[in-house]
Symmetry: C2
Subunit: 171 residues, 2 copies
């Protein structure tokens, strides 16, 4: 059974929706995803660090469309792991696990990894929205499209735009 | 640079000292480590699950002798990661990271992994006190001696009794 490592933020958790919402609360300005295309998350959302450190930020991020159904199916066919670079924000750890338990109840604690550098991950397939995680990974790689990576050449990684598309590749 | 994955409980954190202390508080009985030899932690400490779930349990576990000095030296010679099976007890996540920050301040968040199954870990060397973690690992393995594993045949794993001994092997 092949092992898949799936990222949280920007892959199953719609962090841009949350960035936009927290930016609106902070400034009164409603940004669009389009304004963020081709620039880093930090450049698009100047208060991002403060917001990410706010209790609750990671607990009520919306789920990315289609991820629940496709993940459930993948979970029957693969050894599925959630791998989230979370230790930079220790207060996010419990929130992230509670979020997973709520929206992905078919995953057990055995399948959750909260880490820093993902170079330590051994799997056959990785789905992530950041090149820094995919570039070091030796297996098959899917780049989940997000504004910050949208203009970059995906290189050897397969860019996907939706969970439906991931399902077509992997199910 | 070779990568080392180092367990927390029973390797750098003296969990038996904490089991004994919590058992004493619960029952008034002071157990010895010797009574626990050759039996599982759960068999030796019947209230273990309750105690492990108590806030604070993981925050003030004593540090295992010599681990700080040797880890600091290893950190200059290897790509060092702490890998702790912590997601079974979500309340432990933040406590474990705060504990690491206090006692191993030379480690960054990038080097911390809180996970469930350790089959997903890719490294060259693993130090752990549980066979379930070492047996699936393909690299060099060190079994840190603890009462629960003391009577078992270490098989292909190298049993070590102290951090000084780990230093002799790896520095």
């Amino acid at each position: 059974m092949k092992r898949i490592a799936i990222d949280m933020d920007g892959v199953i958790a719609d962090s841009y929706a949350q960035f936009i919402e927290y930016h609106r609360r902070e400034t009164g300005i409603l940004k669009s995803r389009e304004e963020s295309i081709g620039i880093s998350e930090a450049a698009a959302f100047p208060f991002i660090r403060k917001h990410i450190l706010t209790p609750g930020f990671f607990r009520d991020i919306p789920v990315i469309n289609g991820s629940q159904e496709i993940m459930k199916a993948l979970n029957n066919k693969y050894e599925l792991f959630i791998v989230s670079a979370a230790t930079e924000f220790p207060q996010s750890l419990a929130e992230k696990q509670a979020w997973l338990n709520e929206y992905f109840p078919f995953l057990g604690w055995q399948q959750m990894v909260f880490c820093g550098w993902k170079t330590i991950i051994k799997a056959d397939i990785m789905v992530d929205d950041h090149f820094k995680n995919l570039d070091h990974f030796e297996g098959q790689t899917f780049l989940y499209n997000q504004p910050h990576n949208q203009l970059a050449d995906p290189g050897r990684h397969t860019r996907v735009f939706s969970w439906e598309e991931i399902g077509r590749y992997l199910l």
